[in-house]
């Protein structure tokens, strides 16, 4: 039976009442929540946010801008889900609630900026054009001029965007087929990710190289679009579903797995079934999705020595979203000579969270500060993180502080250990 209404929420895509009611208010999530750690306020904690959703569902509260503010400030990192003994599906509740708020036009975030972001980021072609222009901006000396002028101080969000951007590398598309080398194990599809393919092409290149060495034919559909993760987290469920369907068509071939090394994309794709229960082909894609660490952890790879100390930051959508904590560490630990130094609060969000650091620069910066101080305490000069957002954010933090710390994806380190 479908319910048309849940208190202040209206169908479709109601937040799950069962999910909300599973919360028994124990508070175990509080110390794991980045916004609670920073602000120390109940309404910016998972327990508080669920309580607000529940109040709206029970018609004790009408959603307002203030209500939306507490939902918008959430990073969607889902650390609370990992902590929750009652199994509250916080991520899905948040996404459904944001969808409800978006439909009512309730948002505390700057509309123009979010419109711009969503008009560019999920479109690989437009993203390429924008980044091409930005590459020009960086190389022509204009960047130095703008930075010196102090103009950026007038627009803090623009400044956040500008500071986040690393040197844009030249475009470097992968071939559509990278054949297996050595004993052939099967065929994989590779999702390259909208941000990753433009800003971290070497991560995709290393991923494909390692997979091929491990015996997989790697198929890289040229026309692959966006997985829809950004839309999903922003509560733009319509756009998310369209992208999911289109992507499923791109990866419809005879593939054993669809692999990505972008944790945020992998997490969203693994959840397709929840949001599109009727679409069999989308569900089939979701079941085949694997993070690169899952496929490589026990693969046969010719690894040489790499003498280095590395600390590992858990990308939220790998640790909390996909429950993958051991695989990436085990993969790194396979490299002879590589020493893994534990990072305190490694599962605490770095503040990147999709486009969060662009729309909520202040909170993102405070979290980045916490992350950098813990990285410094490890003494390691290399930080590994398995998501492009984290790479951008942590690298920006190191750059801004003048730190000589290298920020890399785990596959880059593994690839370095391959014989030349």
């Amino acid at each position: 039976m479908s319910v048309a209404r849940l208190g202040a929420f209206t169908a479709p895509d109601l937040p799950s009442l069962e999910g909300i009611r599973a919360c028994v208010h124990c508070g175990i999530c509080l110390p794991q929540c980045p916004t609670y750690r920073v602000l120390g306020e109940e309404m910016d904690s998972p327990r508080g946010r669920i309580y607000l959703m529940r109040a709206a569902a029970e018609e004790r509260l009408e959603p307002t801008e203030a209500f939306a503010r507490h939902m918008d400030l959430c990073l969607g990192c889902r650390a609370c889900e990992s902590a929750c003994p009652a199994g509250v599906p916080f991520g899905a509740l948040l996404e459904a609630t944001r969808f409800q708020l978006a439909r009512r036009g309730l948002s505390s975030e700057p509309r123009l900026l979010t419109r711009l972001i969503f008009a560019v980021f999920p479109h690989p072609g437009r993203m390429g054009l924008l980044l091409g222009a930005l590459r020009l901006y960086q190389r022509s000396g204009l960047q130095r001029l703008v930075r010196a002028s102090g103009l950026l101080r007038l627009a803090p969000r623009l400044a956040a965007m500008e500071a986040l951007l690393p040197l844009v590398p030249p475009r470097e598309p992968l071939p559509e087929l990278i054949p297996a080398r050595g004993g052939r194990r099967g065929r994989l599809g590779l999702l390259t990710g909208c941000v990753q393919r433009h800003l971290y092409p070497q991560v995709n290149r290393d991923t494909a190289r390692l997979l091929s060495l491990a015996g997989w034919d790697v198929i890289v559909p040229r026309e692959q679009g966006c997985c829809g993760a950004l839309d999903l987290h922003g509560g733009r469920l319509g756009a998310f579903r369209r992208r999911a369907r289109a992507l499923a068509a791109q990866f419809a071939g005879d593939l054993d797995y669809v692999v990505t090394s972008a944790a945020g994309c992998g997490s969203a794709m693994k959840e397709y079934g929840h949001w599109l229960p009727e679409a069999a082909e989308v569900g089939a894609l979701a079941r085949r999705v694997r993070d690169v660490s899952q496929v490589l952890v026990d693969a046969d790879l010719p690894l040489g020595r790499l003498e280095t100390s590395v600390t590992y930051h858990d990308a939220c959508h790998l640790a909390h979203g996909q429950k993958l904590r051991n695989e990436p560490r085990a993969l790194l630990a396979r490299v002879p000579g590589l020493r893994l130094v534990p990072l305190a609060d490694s599962e605490l969000c770095c503040g990147s969270a999709g486009v969060y650091n662009l729309v909520e620069p202040e909170m993102a910066e405070r979290l980045l500060d916490m992350k950098i101080s813990r990285i410094l305490a490890t003494g390691a000069r290399v930080v590994a993180a398995a998501n492009p957002g984290c790479l951008l954010q942590i690298a920006k933090g190191c750059r801004a502080r003048g730190l000589d710390i290298e920020v890399v994806h785990p596959v880059e380190l593994v690839a370095r250990a391959l014989p030349a």
Partner: protein, 481 residues
């Protein structure tokens, strides 16, 4: 009673732009702690970061005659951190620094908002720990532990919070900043630290706490014994205690809670057992080995189905994670429950567990059990659906009957959670009028205007049950409030 606009303005001045919550959304989420049945929205929530701010807030509330309700992490189980009469809630969780670690004197001074487990984390690499370990220790604040005189699994051997608090800094209900006790073991004069621990914010707001740190034991052994019935497990507990052993912890879990824990945490408890005992022994290696054998033998004598020892720290940690997060994992079975905290003499454990089964059957309620069997401190979780008032009524009746049964067996209304609003009326089952009157007068010494966490800890007198009467002068003889 609500706050005047002038008072709100003054609070804003004291606490700064980020330090005061007055929005409807903000106030709503502070309306209850973990005992969600009791709700009361504060008029404002203060989030101080400094002792002077706490003092200024209490001063203002005293002038305005509005209640002051303390809160830490909001994980209490007695409705202590909610505002039944409105007023200003003072949430101390932003005051969470460790002020001093003094290992030479085996103590530390912390701010009240510090999370319990974080103190142990800060000293564990040097071989020390903070002993009180309420199940909520990964989130509850030490200030909250002090307010409720919290216990925990390991209190069987190590004692409860009060045994580990050496000194307090407190803003009393008169707005004075006083220091009670200190680092020395014995201080001249009254033991006011002892009186203040467990006072649930009715004396004042604690702003710094000096606690004892202990050296970690040489060896720890964790034994898991499963039984077909609660009865056999209960008898084993009685025998272990009667044999003169004091395990560090001796916990019991029944089949219902095991189902929730395994589903929620995947802690690997035996899922076919009717009851499980989690027994932890610690101390010098030789002693731990001998006691481990003796405990295992006693378990087998009571027809244990399985006795196994956690073979590494990871397995031990997982068993404890399961135990400590049990009350949260019950969310897998029910959306709401009443959590009882009554105590019976340990020798009466088999008897009360039989009684509990009868009560559950009589009222048709599901009861999950996870508790500190070693000190007879029961924690039945009586499940109900909060959308069904009739179910709640049955749960409440079962809860009351159980409480009375415990008292009849020579027990107590509360073991470690505190009194709050939940147990205030029940104190009359345990204390005489003179006892309660004395406590009331003591409370007035610290808080002459009755602004500090009103409605909590002591029962209200029928003659003045209504409303808040902060400036009530002298009580009529023989009355208690």
């Amino acid at each position: 009673m609500s706050l005047s606009p002038a008072a709100v303005k003054e609070l804003q001045r004291i606490l700064g732009p980020q330090g005061l919550v007055t929005t409807p959304e903000g106030r709503l989420v502070y309306e209850c702690d973990m005992h969600t049945l009791y709700k009361g929205m504060p008029d404002a929530v203060a989030l101080p970061t400094r002792t002077e701010q706490v003092q200024a807030v209490v001063d203002l509330c005293r002038r305005e005659r509005v209640p002051v309700v303390p809160r830490g992490s909001g994980t209490g189980l007695i409705g202590g951190a909610m505002a039944p009469r409105g007023g200003v809630m003072v949430s101390l969780n932003r005051m969470d620094r460790i002020l001093d670690i003094d290992l030479a004197n085996r103590c530390a001074t912390v701010q009240p908002g510090l999370i319990n487990l974080w103190l142990t984390r800060a000293v564990s690499d040097r071989g020390y720990f903070f002993a009180p370990d309420p199940s909520s220790q990964m989130v509850s604040s030490i200030g909250g532990n002090v307010a409720t005189n919290a216990g925990g699994p390991h209190c069987l051997k190590y004692g409860i919070t009060t045994n580990h608090v050496l000194g307090l800094e407190m803003v009393t209900g008169r707005g004075e900043l006083v220091r009670l006790g200190g680092k020395a073991m014995d201080r001249p004069g009254y033991d006011l630290t002892g009186a203040a621990v467990g006072s649930e914010g009715t004396f004042g707001l604690v702003t710094a706490i000096t606690v004892r740190l202990l050296h970690a034991p040489e060896a720890v052994k964790t034994v898991l014994a499963s039984f077909a019935t609660i009865g056999e497990a209960s008898e084993t507990v009685s025998d272990i205690i009667a044999a003169g052993m004091i395990p560090a912890a001796l916990e019991m879990l029944d089949a219902v809670i095991i189902r929730a824990i395994n589903a929620g945490i995947g802690a690997g408890y035996p899922d076919r057992a009717g009851a499980v005992l989690l027994i932890e022994l610690d101390g010098p290696t030789a002693e731990v080995e001998v006691q481990g054998e003796r405990c295992a033998a006693l378990c087998r004598r009571h027809r244990a189905l399985e006795v196994r020892v956690a073979h590494d720290e990871a397995e031990r940690a997982l068993l404890w994670k399961g135990r400590k997060e049990a009350a949260g994992a019950v969310g897998r079975l029910t959306s709401s429950y009443l959590l009882q905290d009554a105590v019976v003499p340990r020798s009466k454990l088999p008897q009360i567990m039989r009684e509990m089964e009868t009560i559950a059957a009589r009222h048709g309620v599901l009861i999950a059990n996870v508790f500190h069997a070693g000190d007879g401190n029961l924690h039945p979780l009586i499940c109900y659906d909060d959308r069904k008032p009739e179910e709640l009524a049955r749960a409440v009746r079962a809860n009351e009957e159980l409480l009375h049964a415990c008292i009849e067996l020579g027990g107590s209304v509360t073991g470690e959670h505190g009194v709050g609003v939940d147990k205030a009326e029940n104190l009359t089952l345990q204390y005489s009028e003179a006892d309660l009157n004395f406590m009331y007068r003591l409370r007035r010494v610290f808080d002459p205007d009755g602004i500090m966490n009103p409605g909590k800890l002591l029962p209200s007198h029928p003659a003045c049950a209504e409303g808040f009467r902060p400036s009530r002068p002298v009580l009529p003889t023989g009355a208690w409030i």
